[in-house]
Point group: C2
Chain length 362, copies 2
Amino acid sequence: MGGDHGPSVTLPACRQFLDAHPLADLVLVGTAAALQPAQGWPRCSLVVATEVVAMDDGVEVALRRKRDSSMRVAISQLKPAPSNSALAVEGLALAAADVCVSAGNTGALMAVARYVLKTFEGIDRPAIAALLPNMRGGFTKVLDLGANVDCSAEHLLQFAVMGSALVSALDGNEQPSVGLLNIGEEAIKGSEVTKRAGELLRAADAAGQLNFYGNVEGNDIFKGTTDLVVCDGFVGNVLLKTSEGLAGMMGQFIKEEFSRTPLAKLAALMALPVLKRFKDRVDHRRYSGGALLGLRGLVFKAHGSSDAFAFERALARAYDAARNRLLDRVHDRIRNTFAVLPDAAAPGGAETGDATPSAKAA
Amino acid sequence: MGGDHGPSVTLPACRQFLDAHPLADLVLVGTAAALQPAQGWPRCSLVVATEVVAMDDGVEVALRRKRDSSMRVAISQLKPAPSNSALAVEGLALAAADVCVSAGNTGALMAVARYVLKTFEGIDRPAIAALLPNMRGGFTKVLDLGANVDCSAEHLLQFAVMGSALVSALDGNEQPSVGLLNIGEEAIKGSEVTKRAGELLRAADAAGQLNFYGNVEGNDIFKGTTDLVVCDGFVGNVLLKTSEGLAGMMGQFIKEEFSRTPLAKLAALMALPVLKRFKDRVDHRRYSGGALLGLRGLVFKAHGSSDAFAFERALARAYDAARNRLLDRVHDRIRNTFAVLPDAAAPGGAETGDATPSAKAA
C-alpha cells in the first residue's frame, strides 16, 4: 500500500517479480480493494488489512492507532527469528515469510518493525543500509541512512558488523573492507564520536571480527575505496539526499544543454543510445532497496518514490538477501563480536522474546 | 606557495588576475626563488618568506615551528580589522592588504589565521563557507565546510549570521534566506543540536536578525531552495567531498560511455560543444574559493587542487568580497545579533585585540 504511488506501482512490480522468480512465493498485504487485481495469481497469497499507514502519519499513529495497518500485518507475517532453515520460497506451509518489503513511510516502518520484531540482543536501534554505485562498477554499501541520529561509537561498530553481514549475503564477500566516514584519513581527525569509533573498529579488526580499512571521506563512497562505509544516521541521510540532489541537477543540466539549440538537439539524437546507457548506469532505481538491520526479522525498504521497476528491484534484492540467510549472518556476526568485545553491546538492548540465558535473566 | 601545484599555478593565476582587474594591487608572498618570475609586474609587490607550510604539515608545525612561513607572512599583511575604508585596490600606501588568498593546507591556514588575526568577539571558531551551483543558475552558500566538528546550536546560529553577511557582500541580497540542514522538513526532526539550533534561528528571525526559512535537506542545496545552508563542519565536509566524488564519477561515466564504440565516439564528436557547455556548468573550478568567516581579517581558501583558472577565480571572488566590505558586514551582523541575543555569543570568545569595553574587562 505504501510509497508515493501505492498499489498502482507495487502490484505490477509484484507480478513481474513472480514471473521472473519461479521459485518465489509472495504474500501480498493490503486492503481488500487494493488486493482485488491479484486474485488468482500463482504462488501468491493475499492477506487483508483494514488500515493503511499514510506517508505523513507520525510514528505514534502507526504504532498505537492503526493496529491493523497493512504495514504491521505484513511485518507480522515474518516467521519467528532467528530463522533456521525453511525458506518461504520453498512453500508457504508455515504461513510465514522470510522477508518483508515496503515502500511506505520510513519512520513508521522502523518503529513498527522494531515494535513487532524486536532487535537482536545488544542492538538498541536498527539501522538502514543502502547501496550506492561506485566507479569500480559495483555498489558501496552505506549505513546508517537516516534511522539513527546522535549515534555513539558503539552504534558505529554495530553498523560495521551488521553491514559486513549484508555485504557477505549480497556479494558473497566474507571479509568486506569497512571504512569509517570521516573528514580526513588520519586517525586523529574527526568528531569525538568518530575518534572513539575508530578505536573500537581497530579493536574489532584486531580481534578478527571485521576488516577495518580506516577512515574514508565522502568521495571514497563513489570511488569504491571500501566495500562498506559506516556513518551516523544524520550524516548518512544528508549524504544520500545530497547525492540524489546533485545527480538530479546534473541530469537536468545535460537535458537542458542537449535541447538548447537545433544543433544540440541533433547531437542529442546521435547521442541518444550513449545517453541512455549513461542514464541507466546512474539510475538510482537499479539500487533501490535499503535493508533494515539489527531486527529479528528481515525488512527491506524501497524508496518512497519507487516506480514498478524500482520496486521490483527492491523485491529481488530482498529475495536474494533472504536466500543468502542475511538474518542469520547478522545474528552470528553480532553475537561473535559481542562475545569478544562485550562493551560494544547496548547495555539495555531490547532482548524481549530472546531465548538466550542473558535475556531470561533480564 | 600552497596547493598541490604551488607557484606553477598561483603565479600565472596572479598575472591573469592583475591583467583582468586594472584597479587591483597584489602582494605576493613566497620564497625568493618562487617570487623571481614576478619581478617587475605592475601593481604587484613582493614579500619574501623563508619557510613554507607543506600540505601535510600538522597545525603545530605551522603555528610553532615555521614562524616565517609564507602563509603566516601573507596573513600578517592584512590591515588591522575591522577595516574602515581604504582598500588595498586604491594603492599600497599602507602596505596592508584587504584580503588574503591561499591554496595551502586548510587546517594550518585556519590555525594560523586564527592565531594572527583573532576572531570577532563572541565567535570562538571561524567557519569556512563555500559556493555550490544550484538548479536556479545561482550558487547556494554552505557553511561550515570542515573547520568545526562537534558544533553547538550557538555555532550554527553564528554560521547563519556570518553566512548572511557573505551572501549580502557577494550577491547584494540583504535578506538572504537561511536553511538549517536537517534530515526532514519538520521542526521536530534531527539531532539534539539541530533541534536547538532551529529554536535559536527562529528567535533570531523573530528579532529581525536573519531570514530563517526552516529545515532543508541535502537535495535542497542543489535545488537552490535557500540562499544559504548551515550545518556543522563534519556534515559540511562530508557533503562537499561526497558531491565532488559523485560529480567525478558521473563525469567519468559520461566519458566512458562516449568512447565505448566507434558510433559513440562519433556521437561524442557531434555532441562536443554541448558536452563542453555541460562540463563548464558543473566545473567546480568556477566556484573555487571558500571564505573563512569570523576572523578579524578576510582570508579566502582556494581548493588545494586548484589549477590557474580556479586560483584566479578564487582571487576574483576574494577581491569582490573585499570591495563589498565583507569584513565589516560580518562584524556588523554579528554585533547586532549578539546585542539582541546575547546567549548566542561564545562565553569565552577570543577577544584579544578588541577595543570594546567587554573585551577590555576580560
